[in-house]
């Protein structure tokens, strides 16, 4: 699947996206968890029951709050950022595939990968918020 003109190679682009996505998110999750254990943030539940009943650290849907919180090293936001990066990894992979197929001028697969991307965007921007609203 090597493209002679551009040098883009679908396999290595996808492999790279997946690898770095997992590495970055794992580092963030590890850092955040280590910070939780070391800093013992105020309000951290003492038991699993309490964690569930309060849903402590429930992910924020405010991107600004997430990024500034993580930048300041707030443990729970660092973990949330790790989760978001992990969730974004397959999505970026699909996006990268759309681009590589476009470069290869494979119209059928540009369409197919765009449909997959659309399904993912529907889950994020339509179905997810609807369920959050329903509670």
């Amino acid at each position: 699947m090597k493209n002679g003109n551009t040098g883009y190679d679908l396999n290595s682009v996808i492999s790279g996206v997946l690898k770095y996505g997992v590495i970055i998110s794992t580092v963030l999750l590890l850092t955040g968890l280590a910070l939780v254990i070391l800093e013992k943030p105020a309000g951290l539940p003492t038991s699993v029951e309490q964690l569930i009943s309060t849903n402590y650290g429930k992910p924020t849907l405010d991107a600004g709050q997430l990024l500034s919180g993580a930048a300041q090293g707030t443990p729970i936001f660092v973990i949330q950022l790790g989760l978001v990066v992990l969730l974004a990894t397959p999505i970026v992979r699909v996006l990268a595939s759309v681009i590589v197929f476009a470069v290869e001028r494979d119209r059928t697969y540009v369409a197919i990968t765009l449909i997959v991307l659309m399904i993912l965007l529907v889950s994020i921007f339509i179905v997810g918020p609807a369920e959050a609203h329903a509670g």
Binding site: L10, N11, S12, I14, S15, L18, K19, G21, V22, S25, T26, L29, L30, G32, L33, V36, I37, L44, P45, T46, S47, V48, E49, Q50, L51, I52, N55, Y56, G57, K58, P59, L61, I79, Q80, L83, V84, L86, L87, T89, P90, I91, V94, S97, T108, Y109, I112, I115, V116, I119, L120, V122, S123, I124, V127, G128, P129, E131, A132, A134, G135
Partner: protein, 289 residues
């Protein structure tokens, strides 16, 4: 009452073990993580599924990176079938929210138990398959849909020392199975790889190795569709999920690196028994809930 630090440490260790066993036996870690969270720690099943599905993305992406580089995965077949599996995952996740809201979460326990039975069956089939090596039942005849969508390829089989060409057969039926696998993933927070492989290997008559790696490749996107809904809907608790994700990734990484060549048959039969036992316990929990 289980303390939060005890939870973090013990669930981290359990997740390492789940990832290790999963990669050894050829199933995802989610299948062990969800029962551990619900049966040992008393976590409600929707939160257990939320924690598990995060680790599913991580392990799928991590190992897919290696397989894709090796060119065993069929990217086109995977991406085409993702349309079915990702749509199925959305329906599954919506169904989970609905069942929890309307007080039917016990049904999720029963469904999970049945999935464990299916996984036990699959593991048994797989033990037999890998003994036989790649066979004549790989489809090589071209058909209309596969020609149009380029659902074919070839891969180098290290055991047979030969290039094996293949063409996807029964594409519509395979697509339907992927939608069901996606539904299962979105509903219960597992990868649904068992059903995907059964569909690709059994129905579409693809080589077993291509089926397992392509299934694994698809799991990331399938799980992402469900995870987004779980995350936004509030069923992914970061403290609950973080040790699971890190642990399963670490375990499956070690499993893939260190134990990639060994195929411990007796351990896998033991695993079949364990899956049936855990499945029965999940169903029992569902019935008494």
């Amino acid at each position: 009452m289980i303390g939060i630090y005890e939870y973090l440490l013990s669930m981290f260790l359990i997740s390492i073990l789940a990832g290790l066993i999963g990669s050894l036996v050829g199933v995802g870690g989610g299948i062990l993580v969800v029962p551990a969270l619900t049966l040992i720690f008393g976590v409600p099943i929707q939160f257990a599924a939320g924690a598990s599905i995060v680790s599913v993305i991580a392990t799928s992406s991590g190992s897919a990176a290696a397989y894709v580089r090796d060119r065993i995965t069929n990217l086109r077949i995977g991406m085409f079938l993702e349309i079915g599996s990702a749509s199925g995952a959305i329906v599954g996740a919506v169904l989970t929210f609905y069942l929890v809201r309307s007080g039917f979460s016990w049904l999720l326990f029963i469904a999970f138990g049945l999935i464990l039975f299916l996984s036990a069956y699959f593991t048994a089939v797989r033990i037999r398959k890998e003994r036989q090596g790649e066979t004549d039942r790989v489809n090589q005849a071209q058909n209309r849909i596969s020609a149009r969508l380029k659902l074919s390829g070839e891969y180098y089989d290290k055991v047979l020392k030969a290039k094996i060409p293949y063409v996807a057969d029964n594409v519509p039926a395979g697509f339907a199975v992927m939608a069901c696998a996606g539904l299962m993933a979105g509903l219960l927070g597992v990868g649904g790889g068992v059903l995907k492989v059964l569909g690709m290997d059994g129905l579409m008559k693809l080589p077993f190795k291509v089926s397992t790696t392509t299934s694994n490749f698809m799991i990331g996107v399938t799980a992402a569709a469900g995870t987004a809904i779980f995350y936004i809907g509030g069923y992914i608790n970061p403290i609950l999920a973080a040790p699971v994700a890190i642990g399963v990734v670490a375990g499956s990484f070690v499993g893939a690196k260190v134990l990639v060549r060994s195929k411990p048959v007796s351990l896998r039969w033991l695993f079949v028994v364990a899956l049936i036992a855990i499945g029965s316990e999940m169903i029992y929990q569902g019935l008494v809930l």
